[in-house]
């Protein structure tokens, strides 16, 4: 599907979703509550078949966090981006590792570096950082007076 076709047909799968202008791929904003159902529909609805999650990351905007999921379809060769705005004080979103298995490790990485809690994740613990670690290093307000030399 082309970008326009995706944008026209996606509201059927994700009611209430909004779309952003610009960007290389179609950007869709959904709520954290609807994400579980939407992710399942994106992968298993014929015609969409987003079977490959090729990037899962998070952005700290200082006022809020944004989860970013890059999806592609290996059969239809179309791409899209899903964004979810999260509360910075209590960031919680459903895991998608039962839809895309690769999300399991990527969500662990986002969990340790940004502090996003993935609900129903099977093994949510630090991936690269040591097991005992205070703070979330990739948040903008992270401070480490011992190791960091501020510029």
């Amino acid at each position: 599907m082309t970008r326009e076709e995706l944008q026209n047909s996606l509201p059927d799968l994700a009611p209430g979703a909004t779309f952003e202008e610009g960007g290389e791929w179609l950007n869709m904003n959904v709520t954290a509550e609807s994400w579980k159902a939407v992710s399942h529909a994106l992968k298993f609805t014929a015609g969409f078949d987003f079977d490959y999650l090729f990037c899962l990351t998070c952005v700290d905007w200082k006022t809020h966090l944004t989860m970013v999921y890059h999806l592609t379809s290996t059969t239809h060769r179309h791409n899209m981006v899903v964004k979810i705005k999260l509360d910075r004080t209590k960031p919680e979103v459903e895991t998608v590792c039962d839809t895309w298995r690769t999300a399991e490790f990527h969500e662990r990485e986002v969990f340790e570096l940004f502090g996003v809690v993935f609900l129903n994740h099977p093994d949510l613990r630090n991936l690269i950082l040591p097991d005992v670690w205070d703070g979330f290093p990739l948040r903008k307000d992270y401070e480490d007076p011992i190791n960091m030399i501020k510029l």
Partner: protein
Amino acid sequence: MDVNPKAPAPFPGEVIQTPGGGILVSRMDQVINWARSNSLWPLVFGTSCCAIEMMSTAAAKYDWSRFGFEVARATPRQADVIIIAGTIVNKMAPVLKRLYDQMAEPKYVIAMGACATSGGPFFYNTYSVVKGADHIIPVDVYIAGCPPRPEALIHAMLSLQEKIKSGMTREQIKMEKPEQSF
């Protein structure tokens, strides 16, 4: 340190001509240093992009075997020199220390590139990077560059050979002057 590319250091000592040949007079220490410097086995150790340049130096175009470095070892027990090719992060630091401790003496260290020298591009605003590998283990030769070209690595290796030939090892100095700390 001056490394003269035209004339490699000759075998230490002098030949006293006698009928039917000659007698070589030399100092044992110098002969041992000469032997050591011409067969340095590096440890296979690379933590980021400097390792690509190190591999290039080992490959056919630059070919560090011309200087006696060709036997790269995958175990520190058989290695003489560790080339720190890349960024050392806090999590890697104890591993690097353990590798260095496992190497047999005499052992030498080359800090390759900006990261191994000072943290380089990761000096400011980074929580994870060690600001110079010399916080962990003593370094003999530093190379500037990000990453250094293979010529720079070869120059550092020749400098290390000059250093070995010019005097005592760190362990020998320690034994003679135990009050000095290294």
